[in-house]
Symmetry: C2
Subunit: 499 residues, 2 copies
């Protein structure tokens, strides 16, 4: 038993090494690789992907997992051994259910789709993307059939990104969110507009990065085990629990872009840096799901970074760094500016309130496409109608409408979007719980002290990595399933006060 | 035949991808990796090394190479197909001759040796390093026996780094060099000292890098296919023919360190960037040997960078960049300063004339150790005696003597040092040939124009990658074997004029 488990850990460590190296190849491509390096980099990633896939679906791995699953009664069911076997068995079965031809088709369609999407988006010409969108829709449907499901084909796709979460569960969550957000947006639109002009001044880029990094370290980001670089789109990536890197983008004329991107990516990074060292080089050495990960980026970005208490710490320091721009501003005005709510077309620029509607739209459309209820040729019109219905505004072109996100250019991303909304809900639910456990949290935030919050999150969430599913984690931590109660209360309370 | 060759190329492309990825993992470790990343990085490199080694010694590769070697009469013997098979057969046979235990022992001894060397060097305590040096000597001897040789065990080791070059050939070369250098150093010491104080002023680091990079681009370094970073020790590394990166180190109080390091590494990079694209992802997509590579770094650093003609271009620009430091200087004084000859203890800081003696010393000692003629306990004393004999100076401690180089801390580097001297000799021989072919070369250098020189080098040398051995290349390009004639004439002419 122990010998088999040791062998399993060896195989998994090799797979994990390959995965982390692929992450480095991608990181370098986004940060420092010269343009000429693109072709050889693609070859290198493809080769390592192939080596990884072969190992992830090898007969030996399958046999070991089979044996260890039947013999697993020796293990503590919540212990690392049992969980490594269980999580890996799940990954292995998913990998094996995919016919090789489908894997190749998806990879091929994704490469072609990306190029087609880029030019269609540039030309604001959805019709040019229709054939690719159709194929991607078909391939998502094929994957759902290959993976299998009980209720809804979307379950099969969702489960890849959010293990254990069902379409039905999400539908309840989104219905709650919609019931809160749509009227709220109307009320806010009827109220006075918030002035956020102070954010759109000239801010020195180097100073922005220096300041953002200070905040990241304040939150607890360990730069001995990470670093910050600049890229076209911010992201967080990990080459091991002790090498978790973040990136930001910096605009010289918009303060929020970099400041809150750094806080967001720091949230992801704190999660990865907080996984228990005993899980290093195992498949559990990651966050539990896309949504759980997003819960932490949004928690640190919004529930901490955009909170009123934290402004007591942040704003005076920001004023000292940028006296020309913010010297005459008061804290209330700044707080309102960084929390301005207004219906907008672009998801990644949306405020805390309207953001979830953008996600809901994509969730609905993905489900409907999968159920064959959408004529793809009309997807841009359907998109525009829904945006009008939810937000009261209309995209002037498809680049600001259905073509705005890169995700659908790939043939394997259905089921990923909901994690962005789940993250908001889960993050708020966890934060509400942390506040109860830490009565001085507001005061600590006002002093830029985050040791207690970080410790609470590490103890309850981060250390476990992928040991538990999102639903299991939420039950363990909060004693209840995922609910929107905390989020609804949070936005009513916060934005009720602002507007 | 063609089917087998296609399969061979596929296997080789995978090996090549792994090798380049390992290079990236090492580059990142030296440039941007946070300290915490070290442990997982070691695992990743070890995993990829293992995967690469398994492929490099696989039965399938062996069979393919066997078949293609016997059927190779179909190929043009100088064509890429035949050369790929021949070079790879050689690499494969070398890989297979090494018993697995010896490979592991060498790896183990090298890791331990490195740590022991570091602390012994810091403590200036050669005795502490003796057991490790003994083991490394034994392992080098074991490797020589495993690889096999006809005349001298050193041949077996040398051939790993300089295919086709023999110990006997090197002995002739070093005898020639010694006959020139030892009296020359005495003459120079008897002459007046050169004043190089101008180089040791405060130079802005950012400006140094900017200026060095301009010179690199002037030489022909394509930054769309490369980039410059700073590291503790300068190096050049390649992740594909279109992604060849260089590094430098910058001292704020010594101009030469970065300026000539950049030129040196640019020489390596021009070689790699100049390999024919048809050799991409094959084992020929590298320089022909350590010595051939060094010939190009030294050619661009010394024969171009430190030449009198090029100062006409370089010096006025350097003056404009650093007017406070160099404004009052004249070109002759600067030229003499950057070409100052004086016997010194540290190889990597040695001037053009004395440098080869440092290498000769190591070549002699490695041979003698391998032949069992050296009592390792006394290696530091022997070292000091020879340095005194060759250069007239005595190391005050072993850190500035026998322990100065990292190379002997590893158990697999015997045979590498000679390439550093070969590089000087080969570079000068090639450069003398290029001057004959390009009568306006001096004038072009004075105007910072290097198109003709670079084209000549690309056509004659770079494009071939590893297709030919150093001896084959020199015969093809210069019509003669490697000789010291050009180098001897060069130093007499150049330093005769200066001193």
């Amino acid at each position: 038993m122990s010998e088999k488990f040791d062998r399993l850990k060896m195989l998994l460590a090799e797979i994990e090494d390959l995965e982390r190296v692929i992450a480095l190849l991608n990181w370098d491509r986004e940060t420092y690789m010269p343009p000429g390096g693109n072709e050889s980099r693609s070859h290198q990633i493809a080769t390592l992907d192939r080596l990884k896939h072969a190992r992830l679906s090898s007969d030996e791995l399958g046999r070991l997992l089979e044996d260890l699953t039947t013999e697993a009664s020796d293990f503590d069911p919540d212990g690392e051994e049992a969980r490594i076997v269980a999580v890996m068995k799940r990954d292995f079965d998913l990998e094996c259910k995919m016919p090789e031809k489908l894997v190749l088709d998806i990879s091929h369609a994704s490469s072609e789709g990306l190029l087609a999407w880029r030019s269609a988006r540039e030309a604001q010409d959805f019709a040019a993307f229709v054939p690719y969108m159709k194929r991607n829709a078909d391939l998502n449907a094929e994957r759902a059939e290959a993976l299998g499901y009980t209720d809804h084909p979307y379950d099969a796709l969702l489960d890849r990104w959010e293990p254990g979460i069902t379409t039905a569960q999400l539908e309840t969550i989104f219905a709650d969110l919609k019931a809160t957000i749509v009227p709220m947006v109307r009320d806010i639109a009827a109220g006075g507009a918030v002035d956020d002009i102070c954010l759109f001044q000239e801010y020195n880029r180097t100073e922005q990065i220096r300041f953002g990094l200070q905040m990241a370290e304040r939150f607890g980001y360990d730069r001995n085990r990470g670093r910050l670089d600049t890229t076209a789109h911010p992201f967080c990536t990990s080459f091991g629990l002790d090498d978790v890197r973040i990136t930001t983008r910096v605009f010289s004329n918009f303060l929020n872009a970099s400041l809150f991107a750094i806080m967001h990516e720091t949230g992801h990074a704190l999660y990865e840096q907080g996984v228990s060292p005993s899980l290093a080089r195992t498949p559990l050495a990651h966050g539990a799901s896309a949504g759980m990960h997003e819960s932490q980026s949004r928690l640190w970005e919004n529930l901490v970074g955009r909170s009123r208490p934290f402004q007591e710490y942040l704003f005076p320091r920001l004023q000292r760094t940028f006296p020309g721009q913010l010297g005459g501003m008061d804290i209330e005005g700044f707080y309102r500016a960084i929390n301005k709510v207004h219906p907008s077309l672009i998801r990644v620029e949306a405020d805390e309130v309207t953001y979830n509607l953008h996600i809901m739209l994509r969730f609905e459309l993905e489900k409907e496409i999968l159920a064959g209820k959408v004529e793809i040729e009309k997807l841009d019109e359907i998109w525009n109608e829904r945006i009008r219905e939810y937000l009261g505004i209309t995209p002037p072109n498809s680049a600001e409408g259905v073509l705005q996100d890169i995700h659908w250019s790939w043939a394997d991303t259905f089921g990923l979007f909901p994690g962005y909304a789940l993250g908001n809900v889960i993050g708020t639910q966890l934060f509400a719980h942390a506040r109860k456990a830490l009565p001085s949290l507001d005061d600590q935030m006002a002093h830029g002290e985050f040791n207690d919050l970080l410790t609470w999150l590490q103890t309850n969430l981060y250390q476990h990595g992928r040991k538990f599913t999102p639903n299991e984690l939420m039950e363990r931590i909060t004693g209840s399933p995922i609910t929107t109660d905390a989020w609804v209360e949070y936005v009513h309370c916060k934005f009720g006060a602002i507007y």
